[in-house]
Amino acid sequence: MKALLIARREIAGYLRTLSGYIIVAVILAVNGLFFNAFALGKAAERSATVLSNFFYYSSGFTIVASVFISMRLLAEERQAGTLPLLYSSPVRDRDIVLGKYLAGLAFLAVYLLCTLYMPLLVMVHGKVSVGHIVAGYAGLLLLGSASLAVGTFGSALAKNQLMAAIITACMLVALILCWLLARITEQPLSSVFSALSLWNQHFPPFQAGLVHLRDVAYYLLLTYVALFAATRVLEARRWR
């Protein structure tokens, strides 16, 4: 419950200033440009292809949005020197991390909701199922959730927002590039790297309207591990 209180305070922080809206508007505009230029394409593409292309580009924007959203979560408090105030308040470290993360996730969900009109346009002009759209958005939300959790971990490690963004980007790129490692290593390491790959191995099925239990499990577990690690980083002040 305390996590929810922190989340509410954080969301109010996003909504109170124009910067949150500007971030969403800019990412939406760029996403719209990509939708027009690449997803719709020059030739008459089949609706499932257009939708798949839309989710392909949106996944990239979701990861980028996650980095921007998460960089301020804990690093901003540390930068402003307000983190000790949070420590001294009657909330546990895990409530702080969870509350901040939930606020970021809610903001990301709002951004994703704002992009919904693009698949709906495809639905009006072509033949796609609601299920395909739901699967794609579930994938985007899960990918965003995992990226945001990694970002929360990065934000917990960093001393300022810029460092948080750099650390998060490095970790996410490392996770994305796991598929390359999977290609050059041998078994059983290649299976491990392949399973760890943030995008290549787990997102394309969502793009095509397929929901695999293993992909859902991967994103949820990555979220859990990253948030757990972020909590441990906060707790480390007690033994460092």
Binding site: Y21, A29, G131, G209, L210
Partner: protein, 619 residues
């Protein structure tokens, strides 16, 4: 902690030997090198463990506690390594037989435990050393801090182990939900009319085993089709249970639908696996209609004139770009149980049109017809013939051909700078007309019902004008008109210039005339562009229905007109207008709305603002 008493160096040596040994082992592969590496690694690790035990025995107080925990981490890591070694080549040599053969279950357990023990050793050790390093200059050791670090590491290690295990289980379960677009087609209007118009029983036998997913979908389709159609008799059989019945109908496997009427029989193979049958089920209505037309209706002959540079007529001259053929149109005709035959001077067009001709089609001629051929065609029309004429603005004068039909062909290119299909993103695209302006004439009844959902594409079209003094009795109907912003592009610069009027030019006209002694009289359809029927353009929904409705009206089967149900995915056609709309909606509108909401919310909060305390501090 006193640096002299630190286990940091030893822990680093332990981690490097452990991980480095594993990497070197992979590089060495097999043989003596591998044995040497394993032996060296084991000896070094044993030395580290022994040294740590000695230091622990010598230490006292808090330092002793730290050494004990570090030693515990070393031992856990060493045990993990032993489990790994037991399964290696060296382990097989030492044990005499491979662990996977002598004790497969133990082998699996040790395979899973080895990485888990390594994580349980190295992660807590790393955090323990980090905690100890932070107390390096402290006069008194705080074992509680080291204890916290150790447990933090243990917790993280267990979370990692749990996550990998859960991931493994989820992967092994391999559960999938397919939410992509898939639906079995429902009976379309046209197929329903065909079935309801039957005057003799038609037997449909479905060969599927019980509780088969594909069989259920097909049966459901025929249940819906059979409503209000007493002549349709549907029966479901299992080929394995009724082999003799199946043999009688020429079937040797399940997953097949047989349409039979008297001696006539048509087979549709759908398959038994839903994943493979998807495509067939999505266009089931189309496939069923094709078979029904073959079984239930007599075959008609459509003659395509040849020898005048028509489409699909021979190869292009050297140096010329080949024009798209009409292979897809011919395929469409065959699917409607229409036999396509060539008709030129060699086939007797110079004297008369064959008597079995249901329709004569002239698609995109580029040379003029001989006077004898024109005479034969006129005679055919005067006897109540059916003519399908698709012309080209680049072609010769078609006056002699179209004069008896009461129209004149304006063979100048039409263009539109507002509504057109984009193909090359050049100005010439403006000649790719798109229109959804249809009349209520039976030759375009399906298109009229679909309206804007099925625009027709004309890639470089001419137009028609009604003659001032047409023959008496001729009925002329403009069935398809161009968009009202279309202009005659006389100088072919794709821009409207002076004297190039914008108008809803007639693109397709349906002409009929009652003939004495003929039931339905003469019928003709003239089209301003033969590209509308050419390969590549015909798959466009509007063009396909234009061809189908035209054929049905010309053959007197307009009662069958109606949409064929298909659940196949469709290409998204976008005209320039739609492009512009999509662009502004996606790039500008949505971000503007978000910014607007943001501005409204933040401004409203700003107006409310914090209350200012009244002067004097009164509350």
């Amino acid at each position: 902690m006193n640096p002299r008493g630190s286990s940091l160096v030893l822990s680093l040596v332990f981690a490097v030997v452990l991980v480095g040994g594993l990497v070197l082992e992979r590089i060495a592969g097999a043989g003596t090198a591998l044995t040497a590496i394993v032996v060296a690694r084991t000896v070094l690790l044993l030395a580290v463990v022994g040294w740590a035990a000695t230091r622990m025995a010598q230490a006292s107080g808090g330092r002793k506690v730290l050494w004990r925990w570090a030693l515990l981490c070393y031992v856990v890591g060493f045990v993990g390594l032993l489990l790994y070694t037991a399964q290696s080549e060296l382990g097989t040599r030492l044990l005499g037989t491979a662990l996977s053969q002598s004790s497969p279950k133990l082998a699996v357990v040790s395979q899973a435990l080895f990485p888990a023990l390594l994580v349980l050793s190295l992660l807590p050790l790393a955090l323990l050393e980090a905690s100890a390093a932070a107390m390096a200059r402290a006069p008194v050791l705080e074992t509680e801090r080291a204890h916290g670090a150790l447990f933090s590491g243990l917790g993280t290690a267990f979370v990692l182990i749990f996550s990998f295990s859960a991931m493994y289980v989820a992967t092994q379960l391999d559960k999938t939900w397919d939410l992509s677009y898939f639906r079995t087609a429902k009976p379309g209007e046209s197929t329903r009319k065909l079935i309801q118009g039957l005057n003799e029983p038609l037997q449909v036998t479905l060969f599927f085993p019980p509780a088969n997913e594909v069989g259920e979908a097909v049966a459901q389709y025929f249940r819906e089709l059979g409503q209000d159609a007493p002549q349709l008799q549907v029966e479901r059989l299992d080929q394995a249970v009724e082999p003799s019945r199946a043999r009688t109908l020429g079937v040797s496997t399940n997953g097949v639908v047989v349409f039979s009427r008297g001696e006539q029989r048509e087979v549709l193979t759908v398959g038994l696996e839903i994943d493979r049958a998807r495509g067939q089920l999505q266009r089931l209505d189309q496939e069923v209609q094709k078979r029904l037309l073959t079984v239930a209706r007599p075959r008609r002959v459509l003659y395509l004139t040849t020898g005048h540079g028509e489409r699909g007529d021979g190869k292009a001259a050297p140096g010329e770009t080949p024009r798209p053929g009409i292979g897809q149109l011919k395929e469409l005709m065959r699917a409607q149980n229409v036999e396509v035959q060539p008709l030129g001077v060699a086939e007797g067009l110079g004297s008369e049109v064959p008597r079995d001709a249901a329709v004569v089609a002239i698609i995109g001629p580029t040379k003029e017809f001989l006077q004898e051929e024109i005479n034969a065609l006129r005679e055919y029309l005067n006897k109540g013939g059916r003519l399908w004429l698709a012309l080209e603005p680049e072609g010769p004068s078609y006056d002699a051909l179209v004069e008896p039909l009461g129209v004149r062909y304006v063979n100048t290119l039409l263009a539109n700078d507002q509504v057109y299909f984009r193909a090359t993103r050049q100005q010439s695209d403006r000649a790719n007309l798109a229109t959804a302006a249809y009349s209520s004439h039976p030759s375009v009844s399906t298109l009229a019902s679909l309206g804007g959902q099925a625009p027709v594409a004309f890639l470089g079209s001419g137009a028609f004008e009604t003659r001032s003094n047409p023959q008496q009795g001729l009925g002329l109907d403009v069935s398809v008109r161009a968009h009202e912003a279309t202009f005659v592009d006389k100088n072919r610069n794709f821009t409207e210039d002076e004297g190039e009027d914008r108008r809803a030019w007639p693109l397709v006209m349906a002409i009929d005339k009652p003939i004495q002694g003929s039931k339905e009289g003469m019928r003709a359809v003239v089209m301003g562009d033969s590209d509308a029927l050419a390969d590549g353009v015909l798959p466009n929904l509007g063009n396909a229905y234009l061809a189908l409705d035209t054929l049905r009206w010309l053959t007197g089967e307009e009662a069958l007109a109606g949409a064929v149900s298909s659940e196949e995915d469709v290409p998204i056609q976008h005209t320039r207008e739609q492009d512009v709309l999509w662009f502004y909606a996606t790039v500008l509108l949505a971000p503007a709305v978000v910014l607007g909401v943001g501005f409204f919310v933040t401004r409203r909060r700003g107006k409310r603002g914090p209350r200012v305390a009244p002067e004097g501090g009164a509350r």
